[in-house]
């Protein structure tokens, strides 16, 4: 996460505007429903899907509980295979390390494979400041970069753009006079433009989906082939990876390489998977650097309930089934990681003092659809509620007068008090029944004050009936 101290807007504030964006609603609604159905089909083919999920979850748990040992083992394996390992405490340090490496090669342009981790640390910006252009080679990332925009989905970052917009963008930025808006033609234009870049690039930067501690092997999972280009053609390859991406052994790939493609793009296998181990003479980059990134991950690790968040293999299945994400899109989360996983990862990485980040655990109705599809069984609803608990605890500790006079806080305290004692509870029921009189019109409540106004803005509320259940019961007993 960038270390800028500017206040991020809350989800609630941002969502409103995006909900009104009809093109976004149409695009994302269509896209998520399409991928959702395809995923179900791909998963439905697998009689051992639940067993694979269990294994994936167990393997990740094993890694997280012994992450220090695996990190040390990974470092040794990569070094033995001819690679260099760097450690970065935060994004700033990672960017400095990468900048140094790139400057040593004296180039002004590097080619990049899509990596959300590099978005997280804002690598491109850091390089650009020193006059180095990091060219995105993933088609959607290229679109987002040319448009000077931000990605809105983990897997399909340009999902918020339609083909007409993309055509205009390519015509302008890639100097294409005539260009149709057919997807094939748009892809061809991008291919030709990028090919020149690939062939002349001296430095490639990638992320890594998995890193094997046992052998030092890194993998890149992709569809287009730009990953292969960036990790094969340049002389120097730099891979930036969160330290949670480790898997113990080469064999463990058999689990994740089944879970990821079906969960992400709903395919039995995605077109290209590259597995490289350090440096190979006469084949590909002769210099390989692995940058291991913390940037808050150790904070997530320290939280026993939150730790499972690090299982994430970035498939985006949770985004595609989330009824909130489907309607607000990714930008409403104001974070590199949107959707259900973003709602738990971002607050833990950024810290709960950030108001925007602290609003994310509430950006959910706790429906649980995400947990159902998570290939590594992250219990997202459990972590959401856990984080809400931490947020409230934090507010109570440091919120001062503002917290003590907060409507919700007062309401919760009063209700908790009432619920603790039957006589108080019954009195509260009667008081509410009397007090509602102010608000009941023609047998319905349509206008509530304060924080409850959100309800009646769009819904009626049934008044409290004349007799509670327990009053009926008592009467019945007599």
């Amino acid at each position: 996460m960038s270390s800028d101290k500017a206040k991020t807007p809350t989800f609630q504030e941002s969502a409103k505007a995006y909900l009104d964006n009809t093109q976004l609603r149409r695009n994302i609604g269509h896209a998520t429903h399409t991928i959702r159905d395809k995923r179900e089909q791909a998963v439905g083919e697998m009689p051992d899907w639940e067993e694979l999920r269990e294994a994936g979850s167990n393997i990740k748990q094993r890694v997280m509980r012994h992450l220090d040992k695996y990190l040390v083992q990974l470092e040794k394996s990569v070094q033995q295979a001819g690679g260099v390992v760097h450690w970065a405490k935060d994004g700033k340090e990672a960017n400095r390390i990468i900048l140094d490496l790139v400057q040593q090669k004296q180039v002004e342009e590097v080619v990049k494979v899509k990596s959300i981790t590099t978005d997280e640390i804002e690598l491109n910006k850091a390089l650009a400041k020193e006059g180095i252009q990091a060219l995105e080679t993933d088609l959607a990332e290229l679109i987002v970069q040319l448009a000077e925009d931000e990605p809105s989905h983990i897997l399909v970052p340009a999902i918020h753009k339609n083909r007409a917009e993309i055509r205009e963008l390519f015509k302008e930025k890639l100097n294409q006079d005539e260009l149709s808006d057919r997807p094939e033609d748009l892809a061809e234009a991008a291919r030709l433009y990028l090919r020149k870049k690939f062939l002349s690039a001296k430095v490639g930067i990638s992320g890594g989906n998995f890193a094997v501690a046992e052998t030092g092997t890194i993998s890149v999972v992709e569809s287009e082939g730009n990953g292969r280009m960036c990790t094969t053609l340049p002389d120097t390859l730099i891979t930036v990876m969160g330290l949670e991406k480790i898997i113990p052994t080469w064999r463990d790939f058999e689990v994740f390489m089944q879970l990821l493609p079906r969960s992400a793009t709903a395919e039995r296998m995605n077109p290209y998977n590259s597995f490289w181990t350090g440096v190979t003479d006469g084949d590909g980059p002769q210099e390989f650097h692995l940058v291991l990134l913390d940037n808050g991950r150790t904070n997530v690790l320290a939280d026993e309930v939150g730790r499972q968040t690090l299982n994430c293999i970035r498939c985006s299945a949770c985004l595609n089934v989330c009824p909130v994400y489907e309607r607000t899109g990714g930008h409403a989360y104001n974070s590199v990681y949107p959707g259900p996983i973003g709602a738990i990862l971002t607050p833990q990485l950024k810290g709960l003092e950030d108001e925007g980040a602290a609003s994310l655990p509430y950006a959910s109705s706790l429906c649980g659809a995400c947990y159902e599809v998570c290939p590594v069984k992250i219990n997202i609803p459990e972590v959401l509620v856990h984080l809400r608990g931490k947020i409230v605890d934090e507010k109570k500790r440091n919120g001062g007068i503002k917290q003590k006079t907060n409507q919700e806080h007062i309401g919760m305290k009063l209700m908790a008090r009432a619920f603790k004692k039957r006589s108080r509870y019954e009195r509260a029921q009667k008081l509410a029944r009397i007090g509602q009189g102010l608000f009941v019109k023609d047998g319905s409540i349509s206008n509530l004050p304060g924080e409850l106004a959100g309800w009646t803005a769009m819904r009626d509320l049934k008044p409290i009936p004349e007799q509670t259940f327990r009053e009926w019961w008592r009467q019945r007993d007599e």
Partner: protein, 218 residues
């Protein structure tokens, strides 16, 4: 920088204070109840592989080994391939006479420009996975270094029937020892390159060979 290494490891260790000292990684149970081996054999297995690769819009043909040279000839004519990249160790007997081979020699490797200007590449493979229609390359004999199958626009791949396994775990078992020992680069290819970014239409061919053809020999 090694200072960062120590700081990070320290943070990791204190984050894991609740994990008992006595616990080793192996103590964390990993349930492996998923399928590890397939049940299909013989013709069923080959048929499944051919079907799955075909679904990715690759061209698939099943032939006898003795017909291989003429099959390569037919395919190259169909694809208008004359300048064909040939990896070291690829059997020259399988190449038709009229082809212009661009031999990639370890001593004299082809330049990227030459590869880019070629019409295609022919290789064998290390293994194939039927369930997912995947071809696996490990840069071995007859396959060559990775760039050979990346820059040319057409990839003709020879797969022997006995190289086909059914399930993904069987593929990873196969390479376990060689990855531990030599760490060769391994590439899984499951169809031609594709993208589905723009309005989720699957568009074939962005980078990498846009045409993939598989000849399965018995």
């Amino acid at each position: 920088m090694s200072d960062s290494r120590e700081k990070i490891l320290q943070r990791v260790r204190s984050a894991l204070e609740n994990v008992p000292e006595s616990e080793s990684p192996g103590d964390v149970d990993v349930s492996r109840a998923y399928r590890q081996e397939g049940t299909l054999t013989g013709d069923e297995l080959v048929t499944l592989f051919a079907k799955r690769v075909g679904e990715y819009k690759a061209t698939v043909k099943r032939i006898k080994e003795e017909d291989l040279q003429s099959a390569v000839s037919v395919s190259c004519r169909e694809q208008e391939v004359e300048k064909l990249v040939v990896p070291p160790g690829f059997s020259k007997n399988w190449l038709p006479d009229w082809i212009q081979p661009l031999n990639d020699d370890p001593g004299e490797p082809l330049s990227n420009q030459q590869l880019d200007a070629s019409d295609g590449v022919v290789t064998t493979c290390a293994l194939a996975v039927a369930q997912t229609g995947t071809i696996v390359l490990d840069a071995g004999e007859g396959q060559g270094r990775r760039v050979l199958t990346l820059l040319p626009d057409y990839h003709l791949c020879i797969v022997r029937e006995d190289q086909i396994v059914e399930l993904v775990p069987e593929a990873f078992v196969h390479f376990e020892q060689s990855v531990r020992d030599d760490g060769p680069p391994i590439t899984f290819i499951s169809g031609p390159s594709a993208t589905s970014d723009i309005e989720l239409n699957r568009v074939e061919g962005v980078h990498g060979p846009r045409r993939l053809e598989v000849l399965i020999i018995s």
